[in-house]
C-alpha cells in the first residue's frame, strides 16, 4: 500500500498541496487566458497529476538512494517525468475540450495549445519535485525504522541480562548446595568449608563477569569448572566431566555466562534425571575464523524429549542472535540417548 493512501489525514494534506499547485498553475495561463477560466483547467489538472505522481512511488521504492546507481535513478525519473508530463498534457487537453464543449469557450482550445510547452516543462518539474519529496519520506521512514530496531535490540539486551542473572543463580542449585553444606558441617567440616569457598567463588565470578561485555573462553570455562565442582559435591560419582578444549580456542572472546546455563541444563535435564548419572563432555576448537563449542550429555532413556524449561537455551539463542546476527549458529539434537548442543560463533580475539 502506498504510504500516503494508507492514511486519510495524509491524503487530505496531499490533496491540499496539489490544489495549491493548481492555483499557482492557473497564474501561468493568465497572460493568455482569463484567470477564472484558467483556474477551471488548472485545478482539475493539478489534482489528476497529484494522483498520477503517486505511481512514481513504486519505481522509486525499488531504486533506493543508498544504491550506487545514481545515474539509473536519474534516468528513470527523467523518463517517468517526460511520459507523465505528456500524459498530463493530454489530460489537460481533454479537460479543455470538455470546457469548450460545455460552456462554448471559443478560443480556449487554441489558447491551451499555446501554453503547451510551458505546461510540459512544469509537468516535468512537478514530477521531479514529487519524486524528490517521496525520496525524503522514504529516507525519513528508513531512519525511523533503524531507530525503532535499535530500541528493540536494547530492550532485548536488557531482558537477556535479566534472564542471564536469573539463570546464573538457579534457586534449586543454591538451596541444594546450601543443604549439602548443612549436611557436611557434621559429616566432614573441612569439606563443608571447601564447599562454602567454591560457592563464594562461583557467585563472585558470576557477578563480576555479568557486568562485562565479553570474556575469554578460558574465563568462562573456569567459571563452569567452579560450578561443576559444586555440583560434584551434590551428585558425587553420578556426575563426571570430560573437557576437550583446544588450547588455541581459549583466548577467544565469548559473551559471559553463555555456556554456564547450557551446562546447568545438562545437569538438570540430563545427569540429574538418570539413576547412574553420566559424563558431560565439553569440547571447543577454533576452525579458521569460527569458534566451535559442543556440549554433550546423556539423557534418561524414558525421557522422550528434553522436558522442563528451556529458558536457558532460548536465552543463549537470543543473545547470540543479538550479538552476532547470522554469523552465529546454535543447533541441538537428541541422538542415541545423548543431548548435544552445537554452537558456532565468530572467533574474536579477547583483549585482556
Amino acid at each position: 500500500m502506498h504510504p500516503i493512501l494508507a492514511d486519510r489525514k495524509k491524503v487530505a494534506i496531499y490533496v491540499a498541496v496539489w490544489a495549491l499547485a493548481g492555483f499557482l498553475l492557473s497564474l501561468l495561463f493568465v497572460p493568455g487566458i482569463e484567470w477564472a477560466k484558467a483556474l477551471m483547467i488548472s485545478l482539475p489538472m493539478a489534482l489528476v497529476y497529484g494522483f498520477m505522481n503517486l505511481a512514481s512511488w513504486y519505481p522509486n521504492r525499488t531504486l533506493r538512494l543508498e544504491d550506487p546507481g545514481f545515474l539509473r535513478i536519474f534516468f528513470v525519473n527523467i523518463l517517468g517525468a517526460v511520459l507523465s508530463s505528456i500524459a498530463w498534457l493530454m489530460v489537460g487537453k481533454v479537460i479543455t475540450m470538455a470546457l469548450v464543449y460545455a460552456f462554448s469557450f471559443e478560443d480556449l482550445g487554441r489558447q491551451y495549445d499555446e501554453h503547451a510547452s510551458i505546461l510540459f516543462g512544469t509537468g516535468i518539474l512537478l514530477y521531479l519535485l514529487a519524486s524528490a519529496v517521496q525520496y525524503l519520506i522514504m529516507t525519513f521512514e528508513a531512519s525511523r525504522e533503524v531507530e525503532r530496531r535499535a530500541y528493540e535490540l536494547k530492550l532485548l539486551a536488557q531482558d537477556a541480562e535479566l534472564r542471564a542473572l536469573r539463570a546464573q543463580i538457579d534457586p534449586h542449585f543454591l538451596f541444594n548446595s546450601l543443604n549439602s553444606i548443612s549436611a557436611l558441617t557434621t559429616q566432614d567440616p573441612s569439606a563443608a568449608r571447601e564447599m562454602c569457598i567454591l560457592l563464594g567463588d562461583f557467585l563472585r565470578k558470576s557477578l563480576k563477569v555479568g557486568t562485562e561485555e565479553k570474556i575469554s573462553l578460558s574465563e568462562e570455562i573456569a567459571l563452569i569448572m567452579n560450578f561443576l565442582a559444586i555440583e560434584k559435591v551434590r551428585f558425587g560419582n553420578r556426575l563426571n566431566v570430560e573437557m576437550n578444549v583446544d588450547e588455541r580456542s581459549t583466548s577467544t572472546a565469548v559473551p559471559p555466562l553463555l555456556l554456564q546455563p547450557l551446562i546447568e541444563n545438562a545437569i538438570k535435564h540430563g545427569i540429574a534425571q538418570r539413576i547412574d548419572g553420566g559424563t558431560i563432555v565439553l569440547s571447543s576448537e577454533q576452525n579458521g575464523s569460527t569458534l566451535h563449542i559442543k556440549i554433550k550429555n546423556p539423557v534418561d532413556a524414558d525421557q522422550k524429549k528434553v522436558i522442563g524449561n528451556k529458558i536457558g537455551l532460548q536465552n543463549v539463542k537470543d543473545r547470540l542472535r543479538k550479538l552476532y546476527g547470522n554469523d552465529a549458529r546454535i543447533d541441538t539434537e537428541l541422538e542415541d540417548g545423548f543431548f548435544v548442543v552445537d554452537l558456532s560463533l565468530p572467533a574474536e580475539k579477547h583483549n585482556a
Binding site: H172, N176, N179, S180, R234, G236, I275, D302
Partner: protein
C-alpha cells in the same frame, strides 16, 4: 510406651539422605529400614516394607516424589523434603500437608517429625491424596502413564497406548499387546490426556485416535470401531457424532 516407627529415606543426593539420618539418630524409637536413591527404589521399598514414615524428596530421576505416592496403594505418613518447587509448595499449603525446605534446621525437622507422629487419621490420608492428585492434574497433557505391577514400575508413553478400558475402580491400558491395570478412574485419566489424541467413545472406553481404522454399524442404532490391530470396541450413541466427524 510409644510403638516403634519404621521409616524410609528417599533422596537422590547422598548428603541430603545423610542429614535426615543424622537428625533421626537421637530418636531411638525410629528404625530406618532403608534409603532409596530414586523413585523406582522408593516404590519397591514402600510396597514391600510398608513403612510408617517416609522422608520423600520431590525432584528425583525417573519418578518424582508425587509419582512415587501415586503408585503405592498403602500410603505411609510422608514428610516431603524439597529445595524449591513453586507448584509443590502451593499444593502443600492448600492441603495442609507439612514439608521441609532445604536446607532445614534441626528444630524445624523436629517439628515436622512431631507432626508426622500425630498423623494417623483417615483425614491425613485424604489430604495426602489431594496433594497427589493435584500434582497429577498439574502435568497436562501427560506424556507417559505409570503403572505398578508388584514391585515393578512400567512407564508407558501415551502414544504407545491403543485404548483404555474402565474396570470398576481400575483402568486397563492396552499397549504393545499387553494389558496394564492401574488404580485410577477413566474420567480422571481422560482429563490429563491430550484431547486431540485420545477420544472417549464410550462410558468405559477411551481410544487412541491414531489406532482407529474404521467405524461399523453393529446392531440397530449402535456402532463399533475397529482398531488397526482388529480390536472391536463399542461406541456410545452420544459419542457417535463426534467420532464420525473425526473420521
Amino acid at each position: 510406651m510409644k510403638s516403634r516407627l519404621r521409616a524410609i529415606i528417599v533422596d537422590d543426593e547422598e548428603l541430603a539422605r545423610k542429614i535426615v539420618r543424622e537428625f533421626l539418630a537421637p530418636h531411638e524409637d525410629i528404625e530406618i529400614l532403608t534409603e532409596c536413591i530414586n523413585g523406582f527404589e522408593a516404590v519397591k521399598a514402600i510396597t514391600e516394607l510398608k513403612p510408617d514414615l517416609v522422608f520423600l524428596d520431590i525432584q528425583m530421576p525417573k519418578l518424582n516424589g508425587f509419582e512415587v505416592l501415586d503408585l503405592v496403594e498403602q500410603r505411609p505418613v510422608v514428610v516431603f523434603v524439597t529445595a524449591h518447587d513453586h507448584f509443590a509448595l502451593k499444593a502443600f499449603e492448600v492441603h495442609a500437608v507439612d514439608y521441609l525446605l532445604k536446607p532445614f534446621s534441626k528444630e524445624r525437622f523436629e517439628e515436622a517429625l512431631k507432626r508426622a507422629r500425630e498423623q494417623t487419621s483417615k483425614k491425613y490420608q485424604d489430604r495426602l491424596s489431594e496433594v497427589v492428585s493435584s500434582a497429577r492434574a498439574n502435568v497436562k497433557p501427560i506424556e507417559r502413564v505409570l503403572v505398578r505391577e508388584g514391585f515393578k514400575v512400567h512407564i508407558i508413553p501415551v502414544d504407545k497406548i491403543d485404548y483404555i478400558e474402565a474396570q470398576d475402580d481400575y483402568i486397563s491400558l492396552r499397549s504393545d499387546g499387553k494389558n496394564f491395570l492401574k488404580h485410577q478412574t477413566l474420567t480422571e485419566l481422560e482429563a490429563t490426556l491430550e484431547k486431540s489424541k485420545f477420544i472417549r467413545i464410550h462410558r468405559s472406553f477411551i481410544v487412541n485416535v491414531e489406532r482407529l481404522a474404521r467405524i461399523e454399524p453393529y446392531a440397530k442404532d449402535s456402532h463399533i470401531v475397529i482398531l488397526k490391530d482388529g480390536s472391536k470396541l463399542p461406541v456410545s450413541r452420544s459419542k457417535f457424532d463426534s467420532l464420525k466427524q473425526l473420521l
